[in-house]
């Protein structure tokens, strides 16, 4: 009999809490789909970085499990509370508390198991969608097939089941403290609105706004961030999120008490009171939901930043098929060329030297001017603070400025599909990364590029930076070029100075490069084969009478910096795209689950209220509101309640996302408007929001107007 009762109750609960049931299905599906990517053998075989993907998705799962545990705990307690009268009746007819507890556990587990089973089916569909998206993001062909592994199933079941059991165990305590009278009467009690010190509490609203303003100003203009400041602000932000709703509720209550003009218009008084009472009773839940929305929106905005970076700049990062770095300036790259010819065939290749003349004028300018160094190496007069630079281990630039002969440069341009450039004797060109150019503009006029005028042997010049001896001459700037040229340590770090062949010949070869374009697409293991050859990345070279450690510099790019001697574009792009996709997927995973969980709580709250407080709408009906007017009242009421946390979260996350977007553009060279990332994230978010809103609205109308 109890089993039959449990089954019937489960079916009723699934119907009454359909949004919760569907969300649990969706969460299972999302978990399963992401876990199946984790356990996919093909992905593990295809990518060296599958480990990073596993770590990122694993971390995301950790947060997802936490939040799902919270949702289940919230819902199990919520349903328990809603059904207290029913449990009171069970006690009244002689059931033992243990039996009721067992009945409820059985019901919850059945409901959970049904959602889990449904979620698995949905998860398989979602998995195909995710795989198709992933493969299209990394530009590889995807053949639909089901990824199925015991590990994936066990992980998903463990995460899901663990959350459920934890919540149910916590509930057992509640059953022990049950009392028939309290259970029977708890549903009859309406929300008791306690209003005290509202005048004082009202100040929490402007205070919260002030804090947010200060937070935004600090975010954009404060430079000296340290752990204490960050922790202070984060703590302040959390407190603000939680007290904000108390402030809004108090403000609305004070407005009503003051008998503001607005309350005399139509049903405003009812709406404002509904709104303030809900804010008061649910302020803690709303604070938590806002935090979830903030995290979800930020996660989504950051995912979009990475996606944008992937689409905008990654293809430009490596314009040549193959590049090989060697610190040996006599290297003929024989083994490498052999490998390339054997594996694929070389269409065109160029071996050339990057040179130096012991000066570091451009390095000094960049160290002291780029935002990325945050002024750490800028002395009071704006020049380079060499002492500060010496203290840190910085690998952004080579020790000396990097030069390239014009003929090599033009050959490279030709290989990259660019037109050759001309340069007079006594002139120099700057080839700069576009991202750096966006920040600095043309600064060649500020550079004093001095080269040996030819009377002394190259390499015998004085100490670095002192190329102003009487034997040197100053070069005139002839322009700046910013086309992609693989400048993460190969063709210079961030920049190259292009000088005439004659001038270059008088300089010291610094390191040597092999740049090649292949006949066809590089085989998947070409990079591995090149890497298997002896490394030429570091060496100790004699320079200016002493030994210098030589290693690659990396420039000032962030996000994706590949400081490797060998580059095979066709092998690296999918790898890097996969790495970026890992970040994007993990963030979207968290964002999606957080949003669904938060919206479920909002929705279930409202739907349950619509049934419990149906009489409110009946009263409105009695005092003269038609069904259409009541529907409008409900729409407004829901809109206020739904929009309040999302708009507040949008304000906070929007500020942070604009700041992050701005920083992201500075560091990566993407050009999307900083607010664009957030705007798009918000739009995506609103789509999910709209689905939940419509479902809730329809359910609310059905509940509230059934007998009205």
């Amino acid at each position: 009999m109890l089993s039959k009762l449990a089954l019937r109750n489960v079916m009723r609960s699934a119907r009454d809490y359909l949004v919760y049931f569907l969300t649990m299905m969706l969460v299972t599906a999302i978990m399963f789909a992401f876990h199946s990517l984790l356990f996919s053998r093909e992905i593990q075989q295809l990518f060296e970085m599958a480990g990073i993907f596993a770590v990122l998705v694993g971390m995301a799962t950790f947060f997802v499990v936490l939040i799902v545990a919270w949702l289940i705990n919230y819902m199990v307690r919520f349903i328990l509370e809603k059904r207290s009268r029913e449990f009171g009746i069970y006690l009244l007819i002689g059931m033992k508390k243990k039996e009721i507890s067992r009945l409820y556990m059985r019901e919850s587990l059945l409901l959970g198991a049904a959602a889990f089973a449904g979620g698995l089916a949905l998860g398989m569909l979602l998995q195909q969608i995710l795989l198709a998206i992933l493969y299209s993001m990394i530009m590889m062909e995807y053949r639909p097939r089901l990824e199925w592994s015991v590990g994936c199933l066990v992980t998903t079941a463990a995460c899901y089941g663990g959350c459920y059991l934890l919540a149910l165990l916590r509930c057992r305590g509640k059953f022990r403290r049950m009392n028939i009278h309290a259970l029977m009467s708890s549903q009859k009690q309406n929300e008791e609105i306690r209003e005290s010190h509202e005048q004082a509490k009202r100040w929490l609203l402007p205070l919260s706004c002030l804090f947010l303003l200060a937070f935004a100003l600090f975010l954009f203009f404060f430079k000296a961030w340290d752990v204490t400041v960050i922790l202070g602000f984060l703590l302040g932000l959390v407190v603000t999120i939680y007290v904000f709703y108390t402030g809004v509720a108090a403000w609305v209550i004070c407005y009503i008490r003051r008998k503001g003009k607005g309350i005399f218009k139509g049903q405003n008084l009812f709406l404002l009171r509904q709104f303030s009472s809900k804010l008061k009773t649910l302020r803690f839940t709303l604070g938590t939901l806002t935090s979830l929305f903030v995290l979800a929106l930020l996660g989504c905005a950051i995912a979009l930043m990475f996606n944008d970076y992937q689409n905008q700049t990654l293809l430009d990062k490596w314009p040549f098929d193959v590049m090989v770095f060697s610190s040996d300036t006599q290297d003929a790259f024989q083994e490498e060329l052999e490998v390339l010819n054997r594996e694929c065939g070389v269409k065109e290749a160029l071996i050339y030297d990057i040179r130096q003349n012991g000066t570091d004028t451009v390095n000094a300018w960049l160290y002291s001017h780029l935002k990325t160094f945050g002024g750490a190496y800028t002395s009071a007069d704006g020049s380079l603070d060499r002492e500060a630079l010496g203290r840190d281990e910085i690998w952004a630039y080579y020790e000396h400025d990097t030069y390239l002969a014009l003929s090599d440069y033009n050959r490279l341009r030709e290989m990259a599909g660019l037109l050759p450039v001309e340069l007079e004797e006594g002139e120099f060109l700057l080839h700069l990364k576009e991202r750096v150019w966006d920040e600095t503009g043309d600064f060649t006029g500020e550079l004093e590029i001095r080269v040996d005028s030819g009377s002394e042997e190259p390499g015998d010049s004085a100490e670095p930076g002192s190329g102003t001896a009487e034997h040197s001459s100053r070069l005139r700037p002839a322009g700046v070029y910013t086309e992609p040229l693989s400048q993460d340590g190969h063709n210079g770090a961030d920049y190259l100075l292009i000088v005439s062949d004659r001038t270059a010949e008088r300089m010291t070869p610094y390191y040597r490069l092999l740049t090649a374009n292949l006949e066809g697409r590089a085989p998947d293991d070409l990079l591995r084969k090149l890497d298997a050859l002896p490394s030429k990345r570091t060496s100790t070279t004699p320079f200016g009478g002493h030994q210098e450690n030589m290693d690659m510099a990396c420039g000032t790019d962030n996000i994706v910096v590949y400081v490797v001697a060998n580059i095979v574009r066709d092998n690296l792009i999918p790898e890097v795209k996969f790495m970026l996709s890992s970040v994007i997927f993990a963030l979207v995973y968290i964002g999606l689950v957080f949003v669904c969980v938060a919206l479920t709580v909002l929705s279930v709250q409202q739907l349950s209220d619509s049934a419990k407080y149906r009489f409110r709408y009946q009263v409105l009906h009695q005092i003269g509101l038609g069904h259409r007017e009541i529907s409008r009242v409900i729409l407004k009421q829901l809109a206020c309640f739904y929009l309040c946390p999302i708009l507040f979260a949008a304000l906070i996350s929007g500020t942070m996302a604009v700041y992050l977007g701005w920083k992201f553009n500075v560091h990566t060279g993407t050009h999307t408007m900083a607010a664009g990332y957030f705007g798009l994230a918000f739009l995506l978010f609103l789509c999910v929001y709209a689905v939940y809103f419509v479902v809730t609205y329809v359910g609310f109308l059905r509940n509230a107007l059934t007998k009205a």
Binding site: N268, S276, I623
Partner: protein, 256 residues
């Protein structure tokens, strides 16, 4: 002949369909004049609440007509009915039906606000009603903070504040203690005489009914008797009511 204020003509109400049809109200006809205080009594299931619901436009008739002066409310559309309800009717129920999120004063203000009135007029009318019903001292309290009697007086104030053509009361004293019930009924009588409010009250309590000017007795969906107070004292009228009830037997024994 003078036009009656409210005319109920051959009204019928059936519930269910096919073979499972239950007749709740069976060809009932009566009139109510302006300023009358009419009571309806009858045992459980006699159809008194159904009748009240049809009069109050909350439920539709199966057959027959209900006229408020010249308006036949059985012919009105849903939207027009809402408008009609807002303009002409006031309700007092056993369960008070106050909005729990609004204070006592705000419950009255809301009813006024729905009529698009000026703020000053709304406030003055509200204050007047709060004074009249003696609930001014609890105006800022929420329903859960006041007694049942005060809640019912608030419901009464809300119902009367827009000066409706008809005040409908369904067992208004059902949830009140005897003292509060007496106060409320005195308020009804007062409203009836001072504001000329027309009141239609459903009750199965003879004591409450004794405050009415006329009583319709309902049984099995039909009016089987009618009592008029005339110049009788309330006690005499109560005895008369109890006599009628004793004739109807068992189910109303609680009233004896």
């Amino acid at each position: 002949m003078e036009q009656s204020y409210i005319r109920v003509c051959d009204v019928e109400k059936y519930y269910g369909s096919g073979t499972a049809v239950a007749k709740a109200v069976d060809r009932v006809s009566f009139r109510v004049d302006k300023g009358e205080f009419v009571g309806v009594m009858g045992p459980s299931g006699s159809g008194k609440t159904t009748l009240l619901n049809m009069l109050s436009t909350i439920d539709s008739v199966t057959a027959g007509h209900i006229y408020y002066e010249t308006v036949d409310i059985t012919e009105l559309s849903e939207d027009k009915l809402s408008e009609f309800r807002k303009e002409n009717l006031g309700f007092v129920f056993q369960e008070y039906n106050l909005l729990d999120t609004l204070t006592i004063e705000e419950n009255i203000l809301l009813a006024l606000s729905l009529h698009q009135r000026e703020k000053r007029e709304v406030l003055s009318r509200c204050r007047e009603m709060l004074d009249l019903l003696g609930i001014d001292d609890v105006r800022d309290k929420f329903p859960y903070q006041v007694s049942g009697g005060q809640k019912q007086r608030c419901a009464c104030a809300r119902a009367l504040v827009n000066r409706p053509k008809l005040l409908l009361a369904d067992e208004p004293t059902g949830a009140l203690d005897s003292r509060s019930a007496q106060t409320l009924l005195e308020t009804f009588t007062d409203m009836n005489s001072r504001l000329e409010a027309t009141i239609f009250m459903v009750t199965h309590d003879a004591f409450s009914a004794s405050y009415c000017g006329r009583i319709l007795f309902l049984k099995d969906g039909q009016i089987f008797h009618e009592l008029r107070r005339g110049r009788k004292s309330r006690r005499e009228f109560l005895n008369e009511i109890l006599d009628v009830l004793s004739l109807t037997g068992g189910e109303l024994s609680d009233a004896q």
